[in-house]
C-alpha cells in the first residue's frame, strides 16, 4: 500500500507547488493521475518515489511512515520504486552506453553478477536490439532512449512503478509498446503503478482508476499555484 496523506511540497517553503494532496495506490493497482500542465503532479510523483522531501504530510509505505528521502532513505526502500521520467534525454547520463545505463542500478546495489543475464533479457523485453545497446544516448532516438530508461527502471524488479509522463514525447506506436511492457511486468510481478499524465484517453485505457488533480489536491485550486518551468 502506497499512501500519500495531505502532502504539501514544493521548491520554496513560502510557495508550495502541491498543497494537501492525498492519494492511495493499492498493491497491484494502476492509478492514473490527470492534471493540467504545471499543477504539481510531477512534484507529487517525485515525493511518492522518495526523490523529493515534502514540507508537510506523511507518506505511508505498507503502513509504515517514511521518514527519510533521497540518499537518506534506506536503499531497499528507494529501490522498491522504479521511476521513468518525461524527458529521456535528461534522464540518461550522456556518458554511459545504453547497456551501462540499464545495468547501472545493478552495479550500484552490488549485484554485478546478474548483469550478463538480466540486461539482454530486459533489452529484448523493451524492444532494444543488441546493436543499440553499444550506443550512447546522443546516438539513439528519443523513443529508443525511453525504452532504455524503462528497462533501467525495471532492472531491480521494483514493487512500485512511477511513470511521470513517460509517453508524452513519443509517437503512438512507441507509446503502445512501452505501455505493453509496463503491463506485462505488472501482470508478472503484481507491482503497483502510478502513471502521471495529461492524456485522459491513454490513462483511462491504461489504468484501473484515473483520478483528477482537483480531487487529489482540492486545496490547491483556490491558492495561486506558481507554475514551475519544466515540471
Amino acid at each position: 500500500m502506497l499512501e500519500l496523506r495531505a502532502i504539501t511540497a514544493g521548491y520554496d517553503r513560502r510557495a508550495p507547488v502541491v498543497r494537501d494532496a492525498s492519494l492511495t495506490v493499492a498493491p497491484g493497482e494502476a492509478v492514473g493521475l490527470l492534471g493540467p500542465s504545471g499543477c504539481g503532479k510531477s512534484t507529487l510523483a517525485r515525493v511518492a518515489a522518495l526523490l523529493h522531501r515534502p514540507d508537510a504530510g506523511t507518506l505511508l509505505l505498507d503502513g509504515t511512515p517514511v521518514r527519510h528521502w533521497r540518499h537518506r532513505a534506506p536503499r531497499a526502500q528507494r529501490t522498491a520504486f522504479g521511476v521513468v521520467f518525461q524527458q529521456p534525454r535528461l534522464s540518461a547520463d550522456p556518458r554511459l552506453r545504453l547497456t551501462d545505463l540499464i545495468a547501472e542500478p545493478l552495479r550500484a546495489t552490488g549485484r554485478r553478477e546478474e548483469i550478463p543475464a538480466r540486461v539482454p533479457e530486459l533489452a529484448d523485453t523493451v524492444g532494444l536490439t543488441p546493436d543499440l545497446l553499444t550506443r550512447r544516448p546522443h546516438e539513439v532516438s528519443d523513443g529508443q532512449l525511453q525504452r532504455a530508461c524503462l528497462a533501467r527502471a525495471l532492472v531491480l524488479r521494483p514493487r512500485w512503478l512511477i511513470c511521470d509522463e513517460m509517453t508524452a514525447m513519443l509517437d503512438a506506436s512507441t507509446t503502445a509498446a512501452l505501455v505493453a511492457v509496463v503491463e506485462d511486468y505488472r501482470a508478472a510481478t503484481g507491482a503497483g503503478l502510478l502513471a502521471v499524465g495529461h492524456d485522459r484517453i491513454l490513462l483511462d485505457r491504461w489504468c484501473d482508476r484515473t483520478v483528477h488533480w482537483d480531487t487529489v489536491a482540492p486545496a490547491g485550486k483556490e491558492g495561486a499555484v506558481p507554475a514551475t518551468p519544466g515540471r
Partner: protein, 301 residues
C-alpha cells in the same frame, strides 16, 4: 540576419559563397592556431626533456673571460655577466619553470576539484561552510599568501610548488562547484538515487565525469599562470636559490646589465616565458571550443 536574408533573395549564390568563405577562413585560422600551438608545446617539451641529459650544465661554473658576450655563433643567446651560456641556462630554466608549473597546476586542480565537488555534491551547510572558507582564502592577495608560504621553508623547487598549488585551487573549486550544482538537479541523478546509488557513487560515476573537462581545462590554463608565479617568486628572491637556473632568477640576475645596454640576458628568458605560455593558452582555447556542447554537437554531425 536580416541582411543575409535580403542578400539571399537578391543573389542567393553570392551570399552562399560569402558565407562559406567566411566559415572556411575561420576554420583555417583555427587549425593554424592549433598546429602552431601544438608544435610550440611539442618543441618546448622535447627541448626540456632532451637537452639536459645530452648537455650537462654545471650551474655554478663561471668563465669571466667570456662575460656578457652578445649573441653570436659560439653562444647563440650570448652570455650572462659571469660568462655562462644563456641558451643552455634558458633551457634549464624553462625545465624548472615547466616542472613547477605542471606539478603545481595539477595539484591545485586536484585540490580544487575535490573541494568543489564535495561542496556541490553535499550541498546544504557543508556547501556554505566550504565556500565561505574559499572566500576567506581568496580575500587574501594570492601572491602575498604565496610569499608567506614559501618563506616558511628553505629555498628550493618544492616550497615553490606547494606555495603555488595552495594559492591557486580556489578558482577551480568555484568552477567545479558551479558545474556540479547544475548537474545535480538533472533527472538522471534522480534516476541514479532511485536505482540505489550511494552519494559516493553518484559523485564518482555521474558528477565527476561531467566536470572533468572543465577541471582539465582549468588545469591547462593554470600551467602558464603557475610558471609566471614561479618566476615572480624567484624574481623577488624568495623562490629558487640564485645559482639555480630558472626563468625568474635569470631575469632577476640580468636586471643590472639591462641598464648598461645588454638586452640579451633579459630578452631571451622573457621570450622563453612568454612563448610557451601563449602556446599552452592557444591549445587550451581550442580545447575550450571543443568542449562547448553546441560546438561538439556540430562536430558530431
Amino acid at each position: 540576419m536580416a541582411d543575409t536574408t535580403v542578400e539571399k533573395t537578391n543573389a542567393t549564390g553570392a551570399a552562399g559563397a560569402a558565407w562559406r568563405g567566411h566559415g572556411a577562413a575561420r576554420r583555417s585560422t583555427h587549425t593554424l592556431r592549433l598546429r602552431v600551438s601544438a608544435a610550440l608545446v611539442a618543441v618546448t617539451a622535447l627541448a626540456v626533456l632532451l637537452v639536459p641529459p645530452l648537455v650537462q650544465l654545471d650551474q655554478q661554473a663561471v668563465d669571466l673571460s667570456a662575460k656578457l658576450l652578445p649573441p653570436g655563433w659560439s653562444h647563440p643567446f650570448g652570455t650572462d655577466d659571469v660568462g655562462r651560456d644563456l641558451l643552455l641556462r634558458c633551457v634549464y630554466g624553462l625545465r624548472v619553470s615547466l616542472l613547477v608549473g605542471v606539478v603545481a597546476a595539477l595539484t591545485a586542480t586536484v585540490i580544487g576539484t575535490a573541494v568543489g565537488a564535495t561542496a556541490g555534491a553535499l550541498g546544504g551547510w557543508v556547501d556554505r561552510a566550504v565556500m565561505r572558507l574559499v572566500d576567506t582564502v581568496s580575500s587574501v592577495p594570492h601572491l602575498l599568501l604565496g610569499i608567506f608560504i614559501v618563506a616558511m621553508f628553505r629555498p628550493g623547487v618544492w616550497p615553490v610548488v606547494v606555495s603555488v598549488a595552495l594559492t591557486h585551487w580556489l578558482s577551480t573549486a568555484r568552477i567545479v562547484r558551479a558545474e556540479v550544482l547544475s548537474l545535480r538537479s538533472r533527472p538522471y541523478i534522480d534516476a541514479a538515487v532511485s536505482g540505489g546509488a550511494s552519494r559516493w557513487r553518484v559523485a564518482v560515476r555521474h558528477l565527476l565525469p561531467g566536470v572533468l573537462p572543465q577541471a582539465g581545462l582549468a588545469a591547462v590554463l593554470m600551467i602558464p599562470h603557475a610558471m609566471w608565479h614561479e618566476s615572480a617568486l624567484s624574481f623577488l628572491g624568495l623562490g629558487l636559490p640564485t645559482h639555480t637556473a630558472s626563468l625568474g632568477t635569470l631575469i632577476q640576475g640580468a636586471r643590472g646589465s639591462l641598464l648598461a645596454g645588454q638586452w640579451w640576458p633579459t630578452l631571451f628568458p622573457g621570450l622563453f616565458l612568454i612563448i610557451p605560455t601563449l602556446a599552452i593558452a592557444g591549445l587550451a582555447g581550442v580545447w575550450r571550443e571543443r568542449i562547448n556542447p553546441r560546438r561538439r554537437s556540430e562536430l558530431m554531425l
